[in-house]
Amino acid sequence: MIFEGFSTDVGEWLQGTGPDSDLVISSRVRLARNLANSPFTTVANAEQAKNVADRVEGALERLGSGLPMRIQNLENKSVVERQVLVERHLVSHELATGEGPRVVGFDESESFSVMGNEEDHLRLQVMKSGSQLNQAWEQMCPLERALEEELQFAFHSKYGYLTACPTNVGTGLRASVMLHLPALVITGQIEQVTSAATKIHLAVRGLFGEGTEAQGDFFQISNQRTLGLTEEEILENIASVLPRIIEYERKLREELLERRRERIEDRIGRAYGILSHAHVITSKEALEHLSLVRLGVTLGLLESVDMSQVNRMFLHSQPGHLQCLQGEPLSSEDRDRRRADLLRGILGDSA
């Protein structure tokens, strides 16, 4: 494993703590920034990209003296190691699969990370467990200011912080919450949430953000507008819709328990049975059952399982982590076997 602890721990955002953590898995804010007087990553040549990576790495190192940080050069990392960083949400898929010099710096508790040479020169993100968008933003502000003192960011008096893509310009802020909404999916009401969110210019995406599909009843809601609003207004827009989604999901969960208790208990029990006894399982199947087991834990229907086990299963059963735990690349079939072993092991602890 790249870091000790990656095989046994989960990052701060997956602790299962924080307000409304039965439904809101995590909250994240991310800022896009570019260095003034350097071409964006989209057009930079090898020398320019190296120069940006070096400057970002240098700034992170200087920052690291007051703020312990792990700094990684992605070019030196194996495909599996990069995958692990993606699964822990420390780097984006784009940074992991990109080319050229790329760096990432993050703290030991994995509450923040700074990516160098993503689509923009810098992507700063802060992640928190549960519904804590404002707290994440509060942690972001001093981090951004500290980096701004080290590096001059490209800024325009009209357009704000300049980014490679017009969808990030202005504040460069993407705020998102990851939600677990099984009752809305089971009852077929999820499209109403999706369309309501879209109406107020929020995007609904899958587990790993942009370009990913919703899997296992997990959804990410984020702002689409970045220019012409203050950062606080952007956060407020998400905060305004979140309580209604939470209330809706909770009401449907109650109704499911009242009207279809036996069927729900059966589905959750079967999901637990498969996770605790299967010998071969794909990541898609595991995620579907994990979603139901998570629902069972939050509803108090699975007393032998706790949330920290669910979160460990959720993270460590993903392909990168499995291969890192094994210490070697595995074929898809081998991964499905190892995944089943791991899930049985984690649930066996509670049996």
Partner: protein
Amino acid sequence: MLCEKCQQNEVTVHLTDIVNNTKKEYHLCRDCAQSHGVSIKATLENFKNLTIPEFYSPPAKGDSESAQDSAPSDCPDCGMSYAKFRKEGKFGCARDYDLFSDSLDELFGKIQPSTQHKGRVPARFHGVVSQSMEVERLRQKMEQAAIDEDYEKAAAIKSQLKSLEQGS
């Protein structure tokens, strides 16, 4: 409002269809929309596959040709051409924002609520930006006063704007 097709269920889907510059609106319930092939899920799927440049670009061929006549020159810093920017949807450097600025208001207007930044400002820009934000704020107030036909107020804001701009 009842579905215009079945006249029974509440309208949940408002569909706007534009063919040959003729706009037609349909107000349907979920079931009728689905039976006519309109699914929110499918619509979202379509949007997901749409790239930013496709989203921005007008589909009409004539438009892009006329746009090229007055296209800004290529960026001397990063080499980005306006055509390439429209095709790929990504800027090459900070200077592109000024070079392509004539087209950006329209472009940004499609996805952003305003084209004037309102958020955080780096320390080195503090004085400059607060003034341009104030100008934009007054300009919007002046437009609103004109819409409200409060011309006295609009004129007062106009002179305020003038003195602010002269002072810069």
